[in-house]
Symmetry: C2
Subunit: 461 residues, 2 copies
């Protein structure tokens, strides 16, 4: 709770009494995100405008109080978990889609806009905003920008960073900076826009974003291929991409994941295979049959047991239903799900899967592996029980080894979840002391008093 009642009353002056929350029940609701971490903040404020955000940051700066920006709290690395005594900046009230410009193919939005709402709004106008994190029905654009969210479409279309043209950002002291703009090309000075994307609220608070849109693909087609051996699935992926086809999604589910989903959905998934690939192609209607046919034959050629091409929208929904049920399915097994997103060059996917399975065995853990295999971004989900300290200790060691395995295969700690609190201790493994020093210099120059989301990315600095 906020010890300093003067700060609470100043916040009330800035944002209004009904936008400042400090009861224990309210604070509890803001204590966690999509991880198992939880810290109760000092106070929550829900600003309605850039001006209010600037006033709050200026106050926090003067008082030396940490500020933790927050969207929907669906993050999977702890980026929105509060710091004790902090001001949580709840940005969900700034949720206007200010503009959808069909001629220049861009949208201007506030950070609290829910991702799926933006998807619907632009698709109604024949346009397309590709980034599609699995939490898109609740996640906000501001959170997506903070963590550089991705999603299945990343393989073909890239991630959030690739769609942010410009930002309005409030800096630590309350100054408002505009960077980037409304042009699709920009080579003027440093790419501040790209720097803020993925900076997890540690350099500034995004209050407005200009997002690039593209024409909505005319049509899409989905197919599923089942493989006895995970290596065959990996070879099929390489063959497909090597043939010049870039699917709009190329998702993999391993045997543990398949079993979890089948136990949950009873939809007849094959329990005798090591991997399922779910592949979606999109583009002009006239090209789909050829693309899907080529993929199907490459899968068969590389040992697929069977390939099923969705012939109707209903069949397509059926195929995707299994993939979309992964998250609810895996939490049936154990109450706590630790979702990682180690990412490797795509040729190393089989090696990473083998390493994770070996780690699971050694630490006696259930790890479901699924994810965006086409871009090397896997989500090993450790299925554990937060209440079992022994299991949690084994999980912690296992996670460390998974990170080490990913890095030794030329990979990275995070493909799309960000670093947050959970991966901060491992950053130096990836970047070395010089790389970390370079990032810290940037952090210190933007936030000399360390009030912006402290602890994230760097741990303590």
């Amino acid at each position: 709770m906020m010890r300093n009642s003067r700060i609470v009353s100043r916040l009330i002056k800035i944002a209004g009494k009904e936008k400042v929350f400090s009861s224990p029940e309210d604070l509890f609701c803001y204590s966690y995100d999509g991880t198992f971490l939880s810290v109760v903040p000092g106070v929550v404020v829900r600003p309605a405008s850039t001006r209010e955000v600037a006033a709050i940051l200026s106050l926090a700066s003067a008082e030396g109080v940490p500020v933790v920006p927050r969207g929907a709290g669906t993050g999977l690395s702890g980026g929105a978990v509060p710091v004790e005594g902090s001001i949580v900046l709840d940005l969900t009230a700034m949720d206007r889609i200010l503009e959808i410009d069909t001629a220049d193919m861009l949208a201007v939005v506030e950070p609290g806009v829910v991702t799926a709402r933006l998807h619907r709004a632009v698709e109604e106008k024949g346009l397309f905003y590709p980034p599609d994190p699995s939490s898109s029905s609740v996640s906000t654009i501001g959170g997506n920008i903070a963590e550089c969210a991705g999603g299945p479409r990343g393989l073909k279309y890239g991630v959030t960073r690739d769609y942010v043209l410009g930002l309005e950002v409030v800096l630590a002291g309350g100054e408002v900076v505009m960077c980037g703009g409304r042009t699709v090309k920009n080579s003027s000075g440093y790419d501040l826009t790209g720097l803020f994307v993925g900076s997890e609220g540690t350099l500034g608070v995004v209050t407005r974003a200009v997002l690039r849109l593209i024409p909505k693909p005319e049509a899409r087609q989905t197919l599923r291929a089942d493989f006895k051996a995970i290596e065959q699935a990996a070879e099929a992926i390489t063959a497909v991409l090597g043939a010049g086809v870039v699917p709009s999604a190329l998702e993999l589910m391993d045997d543990v994941t398949i079993r979890c989903v089948e136990n949950y959905l009873h939809t007849g998934l094959p329990l005798d295979v090591e991997a399922i690939l779910l592949v979606e192609v999109d583009g002009p209607e006239s090209t789909l049959a050829e693309q899907a046919g080529l993929i199907a034959s490459l899968c068969i050629e590389h040992g697929a047991e069977r390939v099923r091409v969705a012939q109707t929208r209903k069949e397509e929904a059926e195929l995707w239903r299994a993939r979309k049920a992964v998250s609810p399915a895996v939490v049936q097994v154990k109450p706590t799900k630790i979702s990682e997103d180690a990412t490797v060059p795509r040729s190393q996917v089989p090696a990473l899967i083998r390493a994770i399975k070996e780690i699971a065995r050694r630490y006696r853990l259930t790890i479901a592996i699924f994810g965006h295999a086409g871009d090397g971004n896997l989500h090993p989900n450790l299925l554990v029980d937060k209440g079992d300290p022994d299991e949690m200790a084994r999980a912690e060691e296992a996670i460390k080894e998974i990170f080490q395995a990913a890095l030794s295969l030329g990979g990275t700690l995070s493909g799309e979840h960000g670093v947050g609190l959970l991966k901060a201790p491992f950053m130096e493994l990836e970047f070395g002391p010089c790389g970390m020093a370079a990032m810290k210099k940037i952090k210190e120059s933007f936030d000399p008093f360390g009030i912006l989301n402290p602890g994230k990315i760097f741990g303590r600095i």
Copy 2:
């Protein structure tokens, strides 16, 4: 010339006698780039390895001597123009293509690799490196990264920044940092890779780059449309992009440009039109006829006088010949060409063209306008005579007004040439004092003694 002969002998110790140049003739050869600016450096050194680059920067740092990194010197904003008494770091000897990985679709290269050589090398393996600045037959990847170079393919495929996965960078003090890596997705910490791209050698020296490749498009087709009124051409562009077609190039030439090229090539270009659009589509062979047909009919619908679709490779080369001859053609008119690349949201292209034409009239200047109209990136080329001080003074005023026009239309100073020296005085117009302060903080934290390419981007700081 280098006053400090001790530095010259230290450089000789690092790189070898035959790699250090200090005769007046040699220094003169390194005094200019693709602009009309020229400053003779103190000494030139041509390192052969990252280790040598690190030793040189460490020496320069200790001695407080400015360092100006340089590729092929084709830049159009003055980014590689030396500072008086500086060490020019000629990176052209570090020109190895270290790896082309077809499974992970990436290339690892040294900075001195010529862009077109990389194009050929990856295309031989069925892959594609899209960025294609017009200078690609001579420009280097290091220079492309420094300025975030683009090219006609930017509309569909993006610019250099979109293809840099990872970098090895030597910092001001000689420390070597690795950022990014070999994965197509990366959400670990700040995007240092993206920050270095386009930083014009002011934050560090790139010594190695991991570049993303994509499958080589199966086929392409080109067409040309001639328009009586430039507004019609602009409307046709909006219609084409609005119909969901994304051409791999969408180039515009205005009447002044057409006349220059026709006087030079005598190829029968129409002299009674205000604009020519050159459109290329690529992708699966089977989709080209439909795409080209749709574009042709949209051009006709929006008032094109005539549309010519290339039926053979020879006809295609013929159509592109006119566009590629623009640079040699315009310098026939006047000895000095000042090439700008003001960029606006694409819907503002006609407004920017009108503004430039009005400015040309008012200042009695010949300005040829051409460029990548599909992404709003125009290249107004002021055709002047460096020896005519009155004309140069008018050109200077005109450039200022062109920048103001671009910014007031929601645009940016540079789409793909960078800021260098020429646009530095205008940066605050675009970014305001807070934006400039944020960039300066980054500069100061990476280069506290200001030895890295001083004056670029910021002017004096």
